[in-house]
Amino acid sequence: MGRLWAKGALSTFLLASPAFTMVLGLLVGAYRIPVADVVGVVAAEAAERLSSILGFSFSSSYPSVYETILLRIRLPRVLLAMAVGSALAVSGAVLQAVFRNPLVDSYILGISSGAAFGVSLAVGVFSVAEATPFAFVFSLLAVLLTCSLARVGGRVSPISLVLAGIIVNAFFSSFTSLLKFLMEHEKLASVVYWLMGSFANADWHSVEVALPLASAGCLLVYLMRWQLNVLSLGEEARALGVEPGRLRLAMIAVVSLVTSSSVSFCGVIGWVGLMIPHMVRMAFGPDHRLLIPVSTAVGASFMTLADTLARSLASYEIPVGVLTTLLGVPFFAYLLRKTGGGWYAEG
């Protein structure tokens, strides 16, 4: 009973953790703002937006510097990090169930290499500043290519999807390399920096696109969370009266959409989709009814913390994708050594 209670307490804490990491993310920065004011400004802004919807008037009186820094710079950045963190973590959990393979994340579908190609094309060939639409279009194109390539005899099997993903990844990567080779040096630098992943370009526009998409995606997956248990049985689900094909495609569509939107705003941030679901499975077991909501929350918290570190550790900004990998790898290695991978199937 004690263990059950501890698990309950831990899951409650983790589910609530995004609130704390959000405050922390808003608090940390070059310009110091007291905690009370941080909470006050954000609460006032929320009240103001709400009041304009509900039709009563509300005005706050905080220094305008505070409002500028918190509302224009830090808040959109924190919100974007949360949206992306949740999206990547949930996508990883979903695809690991769909593919019955603990080693996949959403990049296996070709999303990252498609996005990278789109950005290289935008920066290197068309010289446009706004690379996001390119990244988005090409990452979705890559997924479509992967899925159509994997379709054999009207059906998409997990193994053919993984293989098709490898092919599509290689296809786009080779073109990206070619483009990079032909690029001028400054352009090359900006493409490389983009690929490392960063929230430095976060603004309200990106939040307005990524946050609703990620929320809707996570909500949909949350609603179908028990079906993921059944889906993780693979083709055997048919013997239980569930046709896995359509459900699988629906899941892949949701995952592709949220991951592509994330990647196109902040670049390729690795390890989150792989690591977070594993950590949660270790603590709470494989049941997706708990795995999905906790992964959503932990993904949001982890990404916010990583981004806060990325912009405060040094006088310059560390690419957050590098940081997530640096943080993730040792922890993951520790878990592997300690458990021998025992949280997945038999050890």
């Binding site: 169930a97 179908m224 028990w226 049985l233 048919r238 239980l240 046709e243 494989p286």
Partner: protein, 258 residues
């Protein structure tokens, strides 16, 4: 009651032709035959996991294949030959997945569903394992869990593909006892595939001998398990003896060299 009449199916290089049999309520039929003779294909065709050439299966008088997959799952339970585990769900979670066809896409099982799953675990005597990760079960326990998962819908027909594969003698006997008890007690019509003619003779009401995708003998164990028929099917010399009114099948050894 299960009635199969004229089941045919073909792969590019193998076909099952004109399979006919009936299994009454509470009875067990065993498909017996060498590897690659089409036993598993027949089972999969009955459930509709493979699509036979024409509709040929009646369950309690209903055209089984005209029903959608979800409805079929409520009438028939399928126990697969091999199960490759994915994530270490608890036995109870694993068994409750047998109710997937009764739940909507956005639904999760509730108290009532868990009660039904527990009931089946109790029936099969593995209630004590309910909180164990099912990936840590022994072969016999896993087979029982798979049967429990197939039973949780209270199906009229139970299809078991080699339920005794990879099990020791004790567990083979235990599983086959369970199948027969379920048939008798719950009025289920059971069809299973086996490799051991003697075990088939002990635990079946009817045996269908399968070779090259056809049933070449069908009837009571005593009428089917004759040495000349078995030799034709398996291509090895055999002899049969009677013990307590049951037919025992043994390989005939050329000489017991001393």
């Amino acid at each position: 009651m299960l009635r199969v009449s004229g089941l045919s199916f073909s792969y590019s290089d193998f076909s099952v032709r004109d399979v006919c049999f009936e299994v009454e309520e509470g009875r067990v039929l065993t498909l017996l035959g060498p590897n690659g003779s089409g036993k598993t294909t027949i089972l999969k065709c009955i459930y509709g996991l493979l699509k036979p050439k024409r509709r040929c299966v009646l369950v309690d008088g209903r055209d089984f294949h005209s029903l959608p997959l979800r409805e079929r799952a409520k009438l028939a339970g399928y126990v697969p030959q091999v199960h490759s585990p994915s994530f270490p769900y608890t036995v109870l979670e694993f068994v409750v997945m047998g109710l997937a066809s009764q739940l909507g896409v956005f639904e999760a099982p509730g108290e009532e569903h868990y009660r039904r799953a527990l009931e089946k675990l109790r029936l099969l005597g593995i209630e004590g394992l309910k909180d164990r990760p099912y990936t840590q079960l022994s072969g016999g326990q896993l087979q029982l869990a798979l049967i429990a998962r197939a039973l949780v819908q209270d199906p009229r027909v139970l299809l078991l593909d080699e339920p005794t594969a990879h099990l020791d003698f004790r567990n083979q006997v235990k599983i086959l006892e369970v199948v027969r008890t379920l048939a008798r007690g719950e009025g289920v019509s059971a069809v299973m595939t086996l490799h051991d003619p003697t075990l088939a003779s002990v635990y079946s009401d009817k045996i269908a001998l399968v070779r090259d995708g056809r049933i070449i003998a069908l009837g009571s164990p005593r009428s089917v398990l004759r040495s000349e028929v078995l030799e034709k099917v398996y291509g090895v010399p055999v002899c049969t003896i009677e013990v307590n009114g049951l037919r025992v099948v043994l390989p005939r050894v050329a000489s017991h060299g001393r």
